[in-house]
Amino acid sequence: MIALEPVTVTSRRRRIPMPRWGGREGMAGWIILGVLVLVALLAPVLAPHSTEAIDGSRIFGAPDWSHPFGSDDLGRDVFSRVLYAYRASLSIAIGSVLLAMAVGIPIGLIAGYAGGWTDLVLMRAVDLLLAFPALLLAISLIAILGPGGLVALLAIAIIYVPIMARVVRSSVLVVRNQPYVLGARARGASHWAIVRGHVLPNAIGPALVQASVLMAFAIIIEAALSFLGLGAQPPTPELGLMLAEGNNYLTQAPWVEIFPGLAIALSVLAFNLIGDGLRRSFDPGQLAR
């Protein structure tokens, strides 16, 4: 009589939106980032030309099929250089934030959980770092150690340590007063077990959000340092460096400037999307569902 329509089971799939990864927004960010990382890794395969091959016939050559992003003042292929530049930019961005997390998270955890004098001493030390303007701190470090990609990574990490520590500490302050922490103590769990098992997993959310935002900033800081000649040194292909060079020829050959700029924007967008997605997933309202 009545033909029963097959019941769709889409609702079931919908219920697992991977909240920890940042939902739909975060997914877009992860995909872009994934592609960029892949591009960086596969640069030797993907790049149509050598990054240092100077071609006198193509000085300020406009974009065409074999040189999609055009050529620069020495006739080098901008597309190939951008692909390689992602290697430096992404590794500095991700590396500096990972380093900052490795140092900052334990500081924040200890300060927030222990409280009292420990907290006071650790946080004043962190405040001291925080008091310096970020770029000034980086520049003075570079003045001491000399310019270079690794130094830039280290400088950015030092800028980020106090930020990481503060973010973690503030969420630890909330988490450590939760009844489940008291419950764990009542069960006789040691401080180490509580911090590792209960405090860290519950306090890490905001730190991860912060990390993705900081990665976006790291790319910008690193580009700024390179722009000022304090980061990677020529002829290394590097986004900030390329911007600095392209800056002089903006009116004659805008592609020398625009494509590295877009490349920076795209990577910053990816990190920001991930950050926004994560922020939303760690929202208490979302977790309750």
């Binding site: 489940y180 008291l182 103590r185 009542a186 069960r187 006789g188 769990a189 098992g197």
Partner: protein
């Protein structure tokens, strides 16, 4: 009887003569059970003893005296109910036993667990006691379990905190415990996060974790308050059963006299940080002696008296940052006397004890006594 609350030396002489009279005059409902438990207390060492315990919360501008001189002994194997309204210090007292009070709380007096003072015990040894010999069940199972932690792991965590067992052994034991507290299909639920379970089931998990190392003493702080009534009864049954099976002593903290009547052997009534009356359950309900206990019982809605307004205890709980001197109930007490400005000592009454001047002071001699006390102070 148990250690009396003696503050001022001059009270002793007055008390000696009147105690006997108070005891014989009291309409004691001493049944065989209360009589036997009284004799037991005289011989068996108490598992937990409070001796003039005080807890002060130090604030910026004021100090709140949350527990003011509580002396009490728990006998091994009994279920002791501690009742009182919110803020009377019953939770503070249990947290003092666990050593989980915030840093700004200052504890004085002695809390002896099997003869050993917990207050002065080193933190490391105290931690090893928690969850092992002394366990606690909290009020709200929704928040006392970690949402990011599988329930089974939270039980296993308790075992691994105290026993050097393999992950696998801890898991097996946790599964066994989950089954014992009535979680259906524990193996399937083991890895579930707490929010997949109902409130009652979560409280069962909390209880399983508390029992993991076969504690001798279980503190249950309002274990049923956050649950609905039918689940309450189940959880109480479960606690009573487990207490029997494991031979535990249980300190049950509640504001629900119905719960007390259901599973407790003896009851302590707290008011504003003071322990005003201790008595076997049947005696407390049949013949409450302290005016506050009487007022509490009168405020219970009863089946016999369906109509009319519910009795209330007049007045307000005193501000504990500036507690009144002497008996803290005096301002709401219908029997207030001048002598109430001095703290009354716990006086034996039937099979229990009462901290009230009515027990020791004959109304006729009250004025005279008050003058003496006032003169001495």
């Amino acid at each position: 009887m148990s250690a009396p609350l003696e503050k001022d030396g001059q009270e002793d002489g007055q008390k000696g003569g009147t105690v006997g009279a108070a005891v014989t005059a009291s309409p004691t409902t001493a049944s065989s059970t209360t009589a036997s438990s009284t004799t037991a207390s005289a011989t068996a060492a108490p598992i937990l003893a409070f001796d003039d315990v005080r807890v002060d919360y130090r604030g910026r501008s004021s100090t709140v005296s949350a527990v003011a001189g509580v002396s009490l002994e728990l006998r091994a194997g009994e279920t002791f109910g501690l009742v009182g309204e919110s803020g009377c210090g019953k939770t503070t007292l249990s947290m003092a036993v666990m050593g989980l009070l915030p840093d700004r709380a200052q504890v004085s007096g002695e809390i002896r667990f099997r003869g050993e003072d917990l207050v002065t015990m080193p933190a490391g040894r105290r931690r090893r006691l928690r969850g092992d010999d002394v366990s606690m069940v909290f009020q709200d199972p929704a928040t006392s379990l970690d949402a990011t932690f599988p329930i089974g792991e939270q039980v296993a965590e308790t075992i691994r905190a105290h026993r050097s067992v393999s992950r696998r052994e801890a898991r097996d034991r946790a599964l066994q415990l989950l089954a014992e507290v009535g979680i259906p299909d524990p193996a399937a639920r083991y890895s579930d996060p707490p929010h997949r379970l109902s409130g009652g089931m979560r409280q069962r998990v909390v209880i399983a974790a508390a029992l993991a190392n076969d504690p001798d003493l279980l503190l249950a702080d309002e274990p049923t308050t956050a649950l609905d009534v039918t689940i309450q009864a189940q959880i109480l049954d479960l606690l009573a059963q487990l207490k029997q099976r494991h031979g535990m002593t249980m300190l049950l903290i509640t504001h629900d006299l119905g719960v007390v009547a259901q599973i407790c052997d003896r009851v302590g009534v707290m008011y504003a940080g003071q322990l005003v009356e201790v008595a076997p359950v049947d005696q407390l309900f049949a013949a409450p002696r302290h005016p506050y206990t009487r007022a509490l019982l009168q405020a219970l809605p009863s089946r016999a008296q369906r109509s009319g307004r519910l009795a209330v205890v007049e007045g307000q709980v005193p501000d504990l940052s500036e507690p009144p001197s002497g008996c803290r109930f005096k301002e709401r007490c219908p029997h207030r006397m001048p002598v109430c400005d001095t703290t009354p000592a716990a006086t034996p009454a039937g099979a229990g004890s009462v901290a009230c001047w009515l027990e020791t002071v004959d109304r006729a001699t009250n004025v005279e006594l008050a003058e003496q006390v006032g003169g001495a102070a």
